[in-house]
């Protein structure tokens, strides 16, 4: 026993990384308790490691940022023209929907007063064909997305139904498939089908946050304010949901 300080200092990294065997671990712990200077050395070592790791993360982030510079413009996924074109489509869509909703409200006295403000919240999730995985070879899927982008919702749904026959593809893309199918049905006022599609998406799917939002809108459009409230509240309860603000507004409107 009674090995010198350097011997134990050389064990610090294995200790911190959990690489000591039980005997070695016990020995080092005993020495740490018995020798305050060894304990102080360990503290310095931990601080030094933390500094190195923090600096390393900073360096790694800089490397990632500089890798964007190496990507040519054509490979750079987002670009302005697409956004502009999407905006035009969205504006046109909102205008058409506004007219439809006004007509709908005038013709149906049973509509809830939430329908009118709902227009302001209803815009399609964008489906950019160019961002699809290069490996995607399902023609029905691509045709469905194109029809969806052209707001031919019935046609899009026909393609999406064909896609479901390719089980492997449908499983791998369950989030997108059910999100877009759901939105098509919402647009066509097939509320129950929309709800069914949205509910298929598991909570750990990347699309789940969008699905939650459109599920809430579907319930509202259907007049099921109680169910809508539950979903909206679930959105509000998440610290980082992208529609948290809008969900709060809608909850207030429902309560009015």
């Amino acid at each position: 026993m009674n090995k010198d300080l350097e011997y134990y200092k050389n064990k610090f990294d294995d200790y911190l990384d959990g690489h000591l065997n039980p005997e070695q671990l016990e020995e080092l712990k005993t020495e740490l308790n018995a020798r305050p200077n060894l304990s102080a050395e360990l503290e310095r070592h931990v601080q030094a490691r933390a500094a190195i790791r923090a600096f390393g993360e900073h360096d790694q982030k800089d490397k990632f940022n500089s890798m964007f510079d190496d990507i040519g413009p054509s490979e750079n996924p987002p670009n302005q023209p697409k956004t502009k074109s999407a905006l035009i489509w969205a504006l046109l869509g909102v205008a058409v929907l506004a007219a439809l909703f006004l007509f709908y409200n005038n013709s149906k006295s049973t509509s809830t007063n939430i329908n009118k403000p709902l227009i302001a919240y209803l815009e399609d999730p964008s489906a950019n064909l160019t961002r699809q995985n290069a490996k995607v070879s399902n023609g029905d899927w691509l045709a469905g997305l194109e029809a969806y982008n052209n707001q031919s919702y019935s046609q899009a749904l026909e393609y999406f139904e064909k896609v479901r026959t390719d089980e492997a593809f449908a499983t791998d893309n369950t989030g997108q498939l059910n999100l877009y199918s759901g939105v098509c049905n919402l647009r066509l006022e097939n509320h129950d089908k929309a709800i069914e599609a949205f509910k298929t998406v598991p909570t750990n799917n990347p699309m789940f946050d969008e699905v939650q939002w459109y599920l809430a809108l579907t319930y509202l459009q259907k007049g099921e304010n109680k169910n809508a409230t539950l979903v909206l509240q679930a959105i509000v309860d998440q610290s980082s949901h992208f529609k948290k603000g809008e969900a709060k507004e809608l909850l207030l409107r429902i309560k009015e």
């Binding site: 931990v46 601080q47 500094a51 790791r53 390393g56 993360e57 999407a86 980082s240 949901h241």
Partner: protein
């Protein structure tokens, strides 16, 4: 950029192994990850209306966080790596969106849970100001020392690889340099204490 980095055929398990292995394998895996999840960028950008600079910053930050979680063994492949990454990326981008990027780099300085063993033992890495302070000590070292220490402590290169990268004579020289640099860093940390 190596061709390997554009190969998306690695399984999640293989990528996790490469990250944990460190060194050259780590570098390859980090490049693969960089390309692998870029399809998420337009989705999040469209959703949050972030500028190109901000979304790229969020993406880089999210990758660093993902790597941290893998190294800490907090992510062991329970879900798909892409699903796990999307969740980190989305949250990071929402933070950027909320704060309008005034918090650049702060997320990478969250050291409090970097190594649970270290935290449990000494509980010194709680505050972000502590992280900033630690970073500033590293910045005071010369570039050679910074590179050697990062290669050893963050990127996980072997001493032999470090010797080659730093153009040192051999593994022994690299070990000796690492020892000297670490000692210098510790003395800088002592000054503040």
């Amino acid at each position: 950029m190596s061709d390997l980095s554009r190969n998306t055929e690695f399984t999640d398990a293989e990528l996790l192994e490469m990250i944990v292995a460190g060194g050259q394998k780590y570098q390859q895996a980090s490049e693969i990850l960089f390309h692998k999840f870029q399809g998420f960028i337009p989705k999040v950008q469209d959703k949050l209306h972030l500028s190109q600079t901000h979304i790229q910053d969020a993406y880089s930050d999210a990758l660093v966080k993902l790597i941290r979680q893998i190294k800490l063994k907090k992510f062991r492949g329970e879900s798909k790596l892409s699903t796990y990454f999307f969740s980190i990326f989305n949250n990071t981008a929402v933070d950027v969106s909320r704060k309008n990027s005034s918090n650049k780099n702060i997320v990478t300085q969250e050291l409090n849970d970097y190594n649970l063993r270290e935290r449990d033992l000494l509980q010194i890495l709680e505050a972000k100001s502590e992280a900033k302070n630690l970073m500033s000590k590293m910045a005071q070292l010369g570039t050679t020392c910074q590179k050697i220490l990062m290669d050893w402590g963050y990127y996980g290169y072997s001493m032999e690889e470090i010797a080659k990268r730093a153009k040192l004579a051999n593994e022994g020289s690299a070990r000796s340099m690492k020892f000297k640099c670490l000692k210098k860093l510790k003395s800088l940390l002592d000054v503040e204490a």
